[in-house]
Amino acid sequence: MSAWDRVLKARDKNRPLPLDFIRKIIVDFVQLKGDRLYGNDEAVIGGIGYFLGTPVTVIAISRGRDIEENIIRNFGSPNPEGYRKALRLMKQAEKFNRPVIIFIDTKGAGCAIEAEERGQGEAIAKCLYESATLKTPIISFITGEGGSGGALALAAGDEVHMLENAIYSILSPEGFSSILYKDGKYFKEASEIMKITSDDLLELKIIEGIISEHGNINENFEETIIDIKNTINDFLGRTKASKLDDLLEARYNRFRKFGNVRWKI
């Protein structure tokens, strides 16, 4: 399958969305809303519930299923309030010793006058900054699109896993094409060169694992759910067994290792 085919699958309107995963994986999910500063951003969903009997904090960035829901969810592009709500819930998770489980499906952070006025850059930066030392385990799943800094803001924890046909990139292939080739029509070539598929990103060690879609995620959703549950369960087992300092050191090194450089004299 070409990278572009993966892009189409990741964006497919019938693809399961973060709430579909949450409903299957989390029991007694209680949504918690608002950033306590400005408003409530519906592009970010947050709350608490049980994962196999353990209380956890769940956060998601999600687009909508149809046009009505997409309008409510701003097509899955959070405003600063969304990131500040996520951060508030992460700090709350730290306080109550709850692991954080994150699902991501976003084209990227919102680009609008209001987002700039309310500090989109600052909101994302604070997520990265606080995630670095949050004293509780954080695992993220990219279920559809993982668009740039808007996705990274909630993928800066201990592990990131991708669904087989999800994508994770610095910007959309269309955007990449128009910036680097000065023409938006080379999106297919761009999607190949950018290394945005789960296989490429596993090879680059950007992610820890790939969740199989078992041929067709819509038909075999239950099997994918079992794989995600196992992944979370293994993760929680591992992090429970390790000391907090070791967890945070590993989290620091997870990002510290990126970027090979050389000397040129």
Binding site: A109, C111, A112, I113, A115, E116, E117, R118, G119, Q120, G121, E122, I124, A125, K126, L128, Y129, E130, S131, A132, T133, S148, G149, L152, A153, A156, Y168, S169, I170, L171, F176, I179, L180, I193, M194, K195, I196, L201, L204, I206, R251, Y252, F255, R256, F258, G259, N260, V261, R262, W263, K264, I265
Partner: protein
């Protein structure tokens, strides 16, 4: 108006113009490097005068973009700057076509190895770790080399209990390094968190222009965030937003003054007063020489 479109009744010769051996066209020209045209008032100013005036137009007071070297010279006491990681350059993690050639060319034309200078020195005798990004090096875009140099500097500052000062100037992430560039945002932010957790001061100074992934990471993480008059600072590009809302944005949108008004800067400081301002802030945090 057909009366003016008189049909020509004479022959034209189909000669190859290259063979005509015409003398090269002489254009009136300004000797390179002597004069500079101000982008604001469009007046010609002596380059030398511009440099001694810290890249502020002597005619109208407009700020020109400043290179990393010039920035450090304007802030750090003469003779006290020691560069760190001077020889670090990036690789080509995605095997992006012609990326190495592009870097090579820019290295030659700018005399820089990458888009940031890092090191330590003194501000009116007070010791600081300092970085300055250079907008002339692929728009100061952040790839692995910039991410690594900054992280090494921040870790150095943390180990040596030094305050940290970063002048950013960047179009955001370096596209040619794709997702690896994105990871630099998290890497640098995590290093800043560790520096901060030791109780050390970080003053961030986003300068013209600071956008995208740099705004969405270390540029917005200072204990104190300053900028210069009229500097462009934002997350999304102006044209992206204009394209989405299909209307022109006001001139001051994403300017330093706009950010100050919305609560994202502590102060807009004039370039000629920046060193004194930083010195005062360092003293207030009880850093000693």
């Amino acid at each position: 108006m057909a009366i003016f479109k008189k049909k020509r009744n004479y022959f034209t010769l189909e000669g190859n113009i290259d063979e005509l051996n015409l003398p090269p066209e002489v254009k009136p020209s300004i000797p390179e490097g002597v004069w500079h045209k101000c982008k604001a008032c469009e007046k010609l100013i002596l380059k030398e005068e511009l440099v001694t005036n810290t890249y502020i137009c002597p005619k109208c007071g407009a700020y020109e973009r400043m290179g990393a070297k010039e920035r450090i010279e304007a802030i750090i006491d003469e003779g006290t700057f020691k560069e760190l990681s001077a020889n670090i350059v990036g690789m080509n993690p995605l095997n992006f076509p012609k990326y190495e050639e592009k870097i090579e060319k820019i290295q030659q034309s700018t005399g820089l190895k990458e888009g940031v200078l890092t090191g330590y020195g003194r501000i009116s005798t007070l010791k600081v770790a300092i970085a300055a990004m250079d907008p002339n090096f692929i728009m100061g875009s952040m790839g692995s080399a910039i991410g690594e140099k900054l992280t090494l500097l921040i870790e150095f500052a943390e180990k040596n209990s030094l305050p940290l000062i970063i002048f950013s100037a960047s179009g955001g992430a370096r596209m040619q390094e794709g997702i690896i560039s994105l990871m630099q945002m998290a890497k640098v932010s995590a290093a800043i968190k560790r520096h901060s957790d030791k109780g050390l001061l970080y003053v961030s100074i986003p300068t013209d222009p600071t956008t995208g992934g740099v705004t969405a990471s270390f540029a917005m993480l200072g204990d104190i965030i300053l900028s210069e008059p009229k500097a462009l600072i934002g997350f999304a590009g102006r044209r992206v937003i204009e394209g989405t809302i299909r209307q022109a944005l006001p001139d001051d949108f994403q300017s330093a003054e706009f950010l100050l008004k919305h609560g994202f800067l502590d102060a807009v400081v004039r370039r000629e007063e920046m060193k004194e301002y930083l010195h005062k802030v360092l003293l207030l945090h009880e850093y000693k020489s």
